[in-house]
C-alpha cells in the first residue's frame, strides 16, 4: 500500500480541504445512520414509545434544514473556489516547459530544447509553467503526488503552473481515456535540486548517427510534411509507433514492424489504418532500398529515443 505524498505547493491545501469535507461528511453520515438505527429500534412496530404527532412546526424544521445546508455548502464552495482561482492563475514568471500528449506518450521539451519522453524533469522549489497540447486525442496529465491534473486538447494550448516541493520521482498518469494503451501512458516527474537539474539539462546527448541520417531522409522525401505534428494533413504521427499494434479500417489489427512500414511506404493502397483517409502516395521506385532501411531504422529508433 502506498501513502500519497504531498510534493507540490498545492498538495497540502487540497488535502486540508478534503479533510474538512471528510469531517463534515463523516458527521452527517453518522448523524443520518445513527438516527435511522435509533428510530428503527425505538419505533419498531409494537414498541411502547409515544406516537403522538411531532410537537414542532414543520415549516420551521424545513427552513432550518434548507438554511443550514445552504450555509454549509456555501462555505465549502467558497474555500474551494478561492483555492482554485489561486491555483489556476498561470501568469507570472516561471520556467516554461512544453508538453505534448500523444497516443501513448508524453513528449517533453525543456526550455533549452532538450527533449524527453514520458519523463519530466523539474527543478525543486521553482515555479514551472507547462505549455501543453495534444497531437491526436484528449489526454490528461495527472501527477497524484502533486494533486495536479490538466486535460490536453488537440488544437489548443493549455497552461499549468506548479511548484514542486520535494525531490524524488513521482508517477505521472494519463487520466483521460485515449485508446488501447491509455493504461500504459504513464511516466514520471523527476524533481531534482536546481543544481542537479541544471547539470542534467546541460547533458543533452546528441542523437546517434544513424538516427540523424534517417531523420534527414525522413525530411528529404517529404514524409515529415504529413507525418509531423502540426501538419494539417491527417496522417498518423510515427513517433512511438514502431512495435505498436494498430487497428485497421477493416477491424483487424496489425503490428507495426519493418514489413508493415515497408508496405505503408511502397504499397500504401494495401494498408488502411483505421481513422485515416487513404491519402498516402506510393513511394515505389522513389525511395531506393538503402534509404528505405535507414528510414525504417530511424522510425524504429524514434521509439527508443531518450
Amino acid at each position: 500500500m502506498i501513502a500519497l505524498i504531498e510534493a507540490s505547493n498545492r498538495a497540502a491545501q487540497v488535502d486540508r480541504l478534503a479533510a474538512w469535507l471528510l469531517a463534515a461528511s463523516g458527521f452527517v453520515v453518522l448523524l443520518v445512520f445513527g438516527l435511522i438505527v435509533i428510530f428503527a429500534v425505538r419505533y419498531r412496530r409494537g414498541s411502547k414509545a409515544s406516537r403522538a404527532p411531532l410537537p414542532i412546526a414543520e415549516w420551521k424544521v424545513e427552513a432550518g434544514w434548507i438554511a443550514g445546508t445552504t450555509l454549509g455548502f456555501l462555505a465549502f464552495f467558497f474555500f474551494g473556489a478561492r483555492l482554485f482561482v489561486a491555483m489556476e492563475d498561470a501568469s507570472g514568471p516561471a520556467d516554461e516547459i512544453r508538453v505534448v500528449g500523444r497516443q501513448w506518450m508524453w513528449d517533453v521539451r525543456q526550455p533549452n530544447g532538450r527533449r524527453e519522453f514520458d519523463t519530466l524533469h523539474v527543478p525543486l522549489g521553482t515555479r514551472v509553467r507547462l505549455r501543453m497540447t495534444s497531437e491526436d486525442v484528449i489526454h490528461s496529465f495527472f501527477v497524484p503526488d502533486f494533486r495536479l491534473k490538466q486535460d490536453v486538447i488537440p488544437g489548443k494550448e493549455v497552461l499549468l503552473v506548479f511548484t514542486a516541493t520535494r525531490t524524488g520521482r513521482f508517477p505521472l498518469f494519463c487520466t483521460e481515456y485515449c485508446g488501447s494503451k491509455h493504461a500504459q501512458m504513464k511516466g514520471e516527474v523527476i524533481v531534482q535540486r536546481p543544481e542537479d537539474y541544471a547539470r542534467w539539462m546541460a547533458n543533452a546527448q546528441p542523437p546517434a548517427e544513424v538516427l540523424a541520417h534517417g531523420h534527414n531522409l525522413f525530411l528529404h522525401y517529404g514524409c515529415s510534411g504529413c507525418h509531423d505534428r502540426g501538419s494539417i494533413v491527417h496522417a498518423p504521427s510515427l513517433e512511438g509507433l514502431y512495435g505498436a499494434t494498430v487497428p485497421m479500417a477493416d477491424g483487424t489489427f496489425r503490428r507495426v514492424d519493418a514489413t508493415y512500414l515497408r508496405d505503408c511506404i511502397l504499397n500504401p493502397e494495401t494498408v488502411r489504418p483505421a481513422g485515416y483517409p487513404p491519402v498516402m502516395p506510393s513511394f515505389r521506385g522513389v525511395v531506393p532500398e538503402s534509404d528505405l532501411t535507414e528510414i525504417i531504422a530511424y522510425l524504429e529508433g524514434s521509439v527508443a529515443a531518450p
Binding site: I138, S140, K156, Y177
Partner: protein
C-alpha cells in the same frame, strides 16, 4: 375474475397497448441488458485482480467498460424505474385506465428494443472502446470498432425516453382522477413527472450531439474537429448538458419509490410533503445548470468552473432536505423492517454517502485531484447502484404482490437485501481510497501498490453478484408459485392498492374519486 395477465399468447403481449403489460415487457428487456452489463462488470473485476493486466488484453478491457457503461446507463438504469414501475403504476396511481397515448407507449418499447439490438450487434461484432462518454476526437476519428452503430443504438433508444416522458407528462396533466389534486399525488408520481421533464428536454440534445459525432466519423470531418477549427470541448458541453440531467433521471424516480416505501412501513405520512415535492422539481430544473462540473480540468474557463461549482452545491440542497425528511418520517412511526424498507433505508444511507462524495467532486481543487480516478467511479456507483438500484429493487419487491398477485419468501428476500448492502459497500468503498490515492479509471493495468484494495473490491463484487442473483431466482419462482397476496398485503394507501392484484385489464371498474390527503397513515392504528 379476469386480470391483465390472462391471454398469455406471445402475439397478445407483443401487440398489447396495456400499460401494465408494457411495463413488464420493459422489465424483461432491462433485466436482459442488465445481465450482459453485469457480466461485463464481473469480467472487469476479474481482470483487475491482476495489476499487470495479463488476464485480459487492454483492447478487450476497454470494450468491457464501454459495454458495461452504455448498457447500464441507457439500457438498464434510465428505463429501470420510469419505464418498468412507472408504466405499470402511473395510470393506477392517478386513477386512469391507461396512459394518454397507449400506441406511443408500445412504439416506445419497440424503439427501445431496436436501439438495444443495434448496441448488442455493435458489441458482439467488434465492440466499441470509447467509454460511455464518447469523447471526441477519439470517438469520431481515432477509435476503431462500431462506434457508429453503438451511437446509433443510443440515439434510437433516446427516442424511447422522449416518447415515454412525453406520454407521462401528458398523462399526469390530463388523466388524474377527480379530486386528485397536484398536492394529493404520491411522491412517486412527482418523481416520474420531474424525470419526464428531463427526458423530454435533455434527451434531444444527446441525440443532436451523437448525430454530429456520427457525421464527423462518417465524413472524416466535422464540427468538433480541431483541424478545421472545431472545438472538442463543445462535444463535452453538449454531452453533459444531457448527461448530467440524465444522472437525475437515474435518481429522482428512486426518490419517489423510497418515499412510498418509508411511509408505508413506518405507517406515517411523509414529513414535509410539499417540500418533498418541490425538492424533486428543484433537483430536476437546477440539475440542468451544473453540467460543467464534469469539465473542471478540461480547460473550461476558471469563471465557468466557479459558476458550475456553485450551482452544483445549490442543486445538492434539495437532496439534503430529502434525506433529512426521510429520516424524520421514521420518527414516531410504527416501523416494520420488511424487505422493501431494508432496501429503502439502504438507499437513504448509500445515496447519502454517494451524494456527499459528490460534494467532494463539486469542490474545485479536490475535483482537480480526483477527476478521472476511481473516486469518481465510487461516487457514481454509490448513487446509481447504492442509490437507484436499491430503490428499484425495493420498488420491485414492494409492488411485486400487485404485479403478480403473489408474495415472495420474506426471509430469503431480507437475506438477499442485506447481502447486497454488504457486498456493495465492500466493492465500492475501497474505490474511494483507490481514487484518492490516484488510481486512474479506465485502466486495464495499474501499479502494484493498488493491488490489495482492488482484490478487496473484486471480492465484494462476487458477494454483490450473489446478492443480485437471489432475487432474480426467487422472484421468478414466486411469480408462479408464491402465496396469493390479496389486493393490499401491506395495508398501503394509494389508488393502486384499491384494485385487485393482479389488476384487471381496464384497471378500475369505475374511475375513483379521491378525497384523502396522500399517505393517510396513522402510526397509532394497528394495520
Amino acid at each position: 375474475m379476469s386480470t391483465y395477465l390472462d391471454r398469455p399468447t406471445v402475439r397478445s403481449w407483443l401487440t398489447t397497448l396495456d400499460h401494465k403489460r408494457i411495463g413488464l415487457l420493459y422489465l424483461f428487456s432491462i433485466t436482459f441488458f442488465f445481465t450482459i452489463a453485469a457480466a461485463a462488470a464481473a469480467a472487469m473485476r476479474i481482470a483487475l485482480l491482476s495489476p499487470s493486466g495479463d488476464l485480459v488484453a487492454s483492447d478487450v478491457y476497454n470494450r468491457l467498460f464501454t459495454t458495461h457503461g452504455v448498457l447500464m446507463v441507457w439500457f438498464f438504469l434510465i428505463p429501470a424505474v420510469p419505464n418498468v414501475l412507472g408504466n405499470f403504476l402511473l395510470p393506477l396511481m392517478v386513477g386512469a385506465r391507461d396512459v394518454a397515448f397507449p400506441r406511443l407507449n408500445l412504439a416506445s418499447w419497440y424503439v427501445f428494443m431496436a436501439g438495444g439490438f443495434l448496441v448488442l450487434y455493435a458489441i458482439l461484432f467488434g465492440g466499441v472502446d470509447t467509454g460511455w462518454t464518447f469523447y471526441t476526437p477519439y470517438s469520431s476519428t481515432y477509435a476503431n470498432g462500431h462506434v457508429m452503430l453503438m451511437a446509433a443504438g443510443v440515439f434510437v433508444s433516446g427516442f424511447s425516453s422522449i416518447f415515454t416522458g412525453l406520454n407521462f407528462i401528458v398523462t399526469i396533466h390530463r388523466l388524474r382522477a377527480p379530486g386528485l389534486t397536484w398536492f394529493r399525488l404520491p411522491l412517486f408520481v412527482w418523481g416520474i413527472y420531474s424525470t419526464s421533464i428531463i427526458m423530454v428536454l435533455a434527451t434531444p440534445v444527446l441525440a443532436a450531439t451523437l448525430l454530429l459525432m456520427g457525421l464527423e466519423r462518417a465524413f472524416g470531418v466535422g464540427v468538433f474537429d480541431p483541424r478545421i477549427g472545431g472545438d472538442p470541448l463543445l462535444f463535452q458541453h453538449l454531452f453533459w448538458f444531457y448527461s448530467h440531467p440524465a444522472v437525475y433521471i437515474m435518481i429522482l424516480p428512486g426518490m419517489g419509490v423510497v418515499s412510498e416505501i418509508i411511509t408505508c412501513f413506518s405507517r406515517k405520512p411523509v414529513f414535509g410533503y410539499k417540500v418533498m415535492a418541490f425538492a424533486i422539481l428543484a433537483i430536476a430544473t437546477l440539475g440542468f445548470l451544473v453540467w460543467g462540473h464534469h469539465m473542471f480540468v478540461s480547460s473550461e474557463s476558471v469563471f465557468a468552473g466557479v459558476v458550475f461549482s456553485f450551482l452544483s452545491f445549490m442543486v445538492s440542497v434539495p437532496s439534503a432536505v430529502k434525506v433529512f425528511n426521510w429520516t424524520t418520517t421514521l420518527m414516531r412511526g410504527s416501523i416494520r423492517m420488511d424487505t422493501p424498507l431494508i432496501y429503502a433505508l439502504g438507499f437513504v444511507a448509500l445515496f447519502t454517502i454517494g451524494g456527499l462524495t459528490g460534494l467532494f467532486l463539486a469542490t474545485l481543487p479536490v475535483d482537480v485531484h480526483v477527476h478521472g480516478t476511481y473516486f469518481v467511479v465510487a461516487h457514481f456507483h454509490y448513487v446509481m447502484v447504492g442509490g437507484m438500484v436499491m430503490a428499484y429493487l425495493g420498488g420491485v419487491h414492494y409492488w411485486f404482490p400487485k404485479i403478480s398477485g403473489r408474495l415472495y419468501p420474506e426471509m430469503l428476500a431480507r437475506f438477499a437485501a442485506l447481502t447486497i448492502f454488504i457486498g456493495f459497500n465492500l466493492t465500492f468503498f475501497p474505490q474511494f481510497i483507490l481514487g484518492y490515492l490516484g488510481m486512474p479509471r479506465r485502466y486495464s493495468m495499474y501499479p502494484p501498490e493498488f493491488h490489495a484494495l482492488n482484490v478487496l473490491s473484486t471480492a465484494g463484487a462476487s458477494i454483490l453478484g450473489v446478492g443480485y442473483l437471489l432475487p432474480l431466482i426467487y422472484l421468478v419462482w414466486s411469480f408462479y408459485r408464491g402465496r396469493p397476496a390479496g389486493p393490499n398485503p401491506w395495508k398501503a394507501k394509494g389508488l393502486e392498492w384499491t384494485v385487485p392484484s393482479p389488476p384487471p385489464e381496464h384497471n378500475f371498474d369505475a374511475i375513483p374519486t379521491v378525497t384523502e390527503e396522500p399517505y393517510a397513515y396513522n402510526p397509532e392504528e394497528d394495520p
